[in-house]
């Protein structure tokens, strides 16, 4: 399949390993990524707070770029997914549409609203399908217990995000199961990572992240995995601060979604950029049993 690749800012900067892993997995599964150097940032929810109509307009522009090429969009970030989808929803309001078109039309940008915005999780589970992924697994992750961590904007508001469920999703767990890992059920998996207030009240953001990591840990997770690079920053890059806030050692490796899939499909840790994580992933990798169980 062919799809417009919307990597988002973080995967091109501090979360480069997410971009590496996405490209590796897509290449292996026959997903052709079409790149558009004119995509802009989605505003990450912050531009939406400062100026809603501006945020809709810059994302309508992004959507129109894929639309012109006749392609659906692939996101690899829960927040990008949320902001692009939100723009689509808000553009159904004729008043909003009128104001946004007033800014886009003079630039020759036409927005029709025909593009589907799909997160990688959805492309893997719905378009590629779990049987096809299973068939390509070379190193099943048997023995590794993984707590999926969804990221709010992939799920909520469920009516607007067209998500499978606001609080009880299972696509990520199904995917983990398909690559041989053991999904861990815990309440924190659909909760917030704290990232949006990392700059407003860092101690509170870290306390929230720490709570979710502790929750995964107390349910037996050897690692966590997330479809959102902002959650990844909160859970991995700032995990030392989270540990301080919850006054407990955490030592929780946190994978990006395509890294978990890539590992099972046979990618090396180098190809997936695992050395770029703040919390080493070795302990989780050591859990993978070398031989498949009977």
């Amino acid at each position: 399949m062919k799809i417009a690749y919307y990597p988002g800012c973080v995967a091109q900067e501090s979360g480069k390993e997410l971009d590496m892993a996405t490209r590796w997995v897509c290449r292996t599964l026959g997903i052709e990524l079409v790149e558009f150097p004119n995509f802009s940032c989605c505003g990450s929810g912050f531009v939406d707070e400062a100026n809603e109509v501006l945020n809709i307009a810059i994302n309508a522009r992004n959507l129109a770029i894929a639309e012109r090429a006749g392609l659906d969009m692939l996101t690899i970030c829960s927040t990008c997914q949320g902001m692009l989808t939100l723009a689509k929803v808000r553009m159904q309001d004729p008043k909003v549409k009128g104001r946004v078109e007033g800014a886009l039309k003079p630039l020759g940008i036409e927005y029709k609203g025909t593009v589907k915005v799909k997160h990688l999780l959805r492309v893997l589970t719905e378009d590629i399908g779990l049987p096809a992924i299973k068939a390509k697994v070379r190193r099943p992750l048997h023995g590794m217990k993984v707590g999926a961590f969804y990221g709010c904007h992939l799920l909520r508001p469920a009516d607007e995000m067209e998500s499978e469920s606001a609080e009880e999703p299972h696509a990520f767990e199904d995917l983990l199961d398909a690559v041989g890992a053991t999904p861990v059920d815990y309440r924190g998996r659909v909760m917030c990572c704290g990232f949006p207030i990392q700059f407003v009240k860092p101690t509170m953001a870290s306390a929230i992240a720490g709570r979710q990591i502790l929750d995964a840990k107390s349910h037996g997770a050897d690692a966590m995995a997330t479809p959102c690079p902002l959650c990844h920053l909160s859970l991995d890059a700032y995990q030392n601060k989270a540990a301080k806030e919850v006054r407990a050692p955490l030592d929780m490796p946190v994978f990006h979604l395509p890294q978990v899939v890539g590992l099972a499909l046979g990618a090396s840790p180098e190809e997936l950029g695992l050395s770029r994580h703040l919390v080493p992933t070795d302990a989780a990798l050591a859990k993978v049993r070398s031989s498949a169980p009977a």
Binding site: C9, V10, Q12, E13, S14, G15, K16, P37, N38, S40, C41, G43, S44, F46, V47, D48, E49, A50, N51, E52, V53, L54, A57, I58, R61, R99, V100, G102, A103, L104, P106, L107, I109, C152, H153, R156, P157, A158, A166, E167, E168, R187, M191, C192, G194, P196, I197, F199, V200, K201, M204, A207, I208, R211, A237, K241, S275, R276, H277, L278
Partner: protein, 324 residues
């Protein structure tokens, strides 16, 4: 008409503070039809199995807002949550009291913190003393003015949103979704004269601590969509007062940031929000992250078609005034 019954298991939170050493869960199993509301099941348990079970309820019709509780970890009204889907998904129905409020007994919580936050936003019209409401006459509002309230008048103050809110959980000083959506309701009320003052006073008290996780919007049985109203308050606060708080500075800083390259410049954003002194405080963490992810110091490439972004900003920032 006969309807098939299912054997439904309820694990109900039981706790008498001061009497029980610790909370425990009691299992009740009943044969019920799948469309039985959780509240009906709990009342049946109390009437036929265990009269000592304490719960709060009244109308049984999703109007009074008394029976909010946690059902399989979701904050919901017990009277409108059916057992069928819960049994299907979880194989049991775990019933617990609401979160973020102390337990009085079993499923009954002390709602004082919730109502205290409601009182704190001063939930009554502040009128201009020079222009009192005409005695005995209605004050007219246009349909457009009424529309601005959005869904907020539907709120039944059940506190399901307060229970679901992770910001309240982490910082009990956060007003919570219900108080903030009520505040919104007064800030857009054309009869109220304290709009600016209300926005000014709520900001340091936690407006910017909302995580926009939208758990409140999912918990709300009346589709008030508190998270969206909190977003509206943030934009109004910025429009009126600019970047007076770290949160508003960050939102404005992010918006301005994209004017540079169309992509986020991470370092520049940290500086815009925290200032140079704030950055110094984060230097240790910055170096830790930079050693693994050196790109945080890199300037992003400028996107193609940057002129389009510039023109979109010119047209829509600040947003043009809405026609009445």
């Amino acid at each position: 008409m006969e309807t098939d019954t299912i054997s439904a298991s309820f694990d109900v939170y039981r706790y008498r503070p001061g009497k029980d050493a610790a909370p425990h869960y009691q299992r009740y199993t009943l044969d019920l039809t799948p469309h039985t509301p959780v509240l009906t099941a709990l009342l049946k348990i109390r009437a036929e199995v265990d009269p000592s079970l304490a719960l709060r309820y009244s109308c049984r019709s999703a109007i009074c807002g008394s029976c909010a509780m946690q059902i399989n970890s979701k904050s919901r009204l017990a009277c409108e949550t059916h057992i069928g889907p819960e049994m299907e998904r979880h194989g049991r129905v775990v019933v617990e009291p609401m979160r973020n409020q102390p337990v009085l007994r079993d499923l009954v919580v002390d709602q004082t913190p919730f109502w205290k936050e409601y009182d704190r936003i001063e939930p009554s019209l502040k009128l201009d003393p020079r222009r009192p409401m005409p005695e005995g006459k209605p004050t007219k509002m246009s349909p457009a003015e009424v529309d601005r309230f959005k869904e907020t008048p539907r709120c039944i103050a059940c506190a399901a949103c307060y229970s679901a809110c992770p910001a309240v959980e982490a910082d009990p000083g956060f007003p919570g979704p219900m108080a903030l959506s009520k505040l919104y309701r007064f800030v857009v009320d054309p009869r109220d004269t304290a709009h600016q003052d209300r926005l000014l006073r709520i900001q340091p008290n936690g407006l910017w601590l909302c995580l926009r996780c939208h758990l409140c919007t999912e918990a709300c049985p009346k589709d008030v969509r508190p998270s969206e109203r909190i977003r509206d308050l943030k934009e109004m606060a910025i429009a009126v007062q600019g970047g007076t708080e770290l949160g508003s500075r960050h939102a404005i800083g992010f918006k301005e940031n994209l004017k540079g390259a169309g992509q986020l410049n991470e370092m520049k954003l940290v500086r815009a929000t925290s200032g140079l002194t704030g950055m110094l405080g984060q230097i240790g963490q910055g170096i830790r992250v930079w050693r693994k992810k050196p790109e945080i110091m890199k300037r992003p490439r400028t996107i193609e078609g940057m002129d389009e972004i510039t023109k979109i900003y010119a047209a829509l920032d600040p947003p043009p005034k809405e026609e009445p």
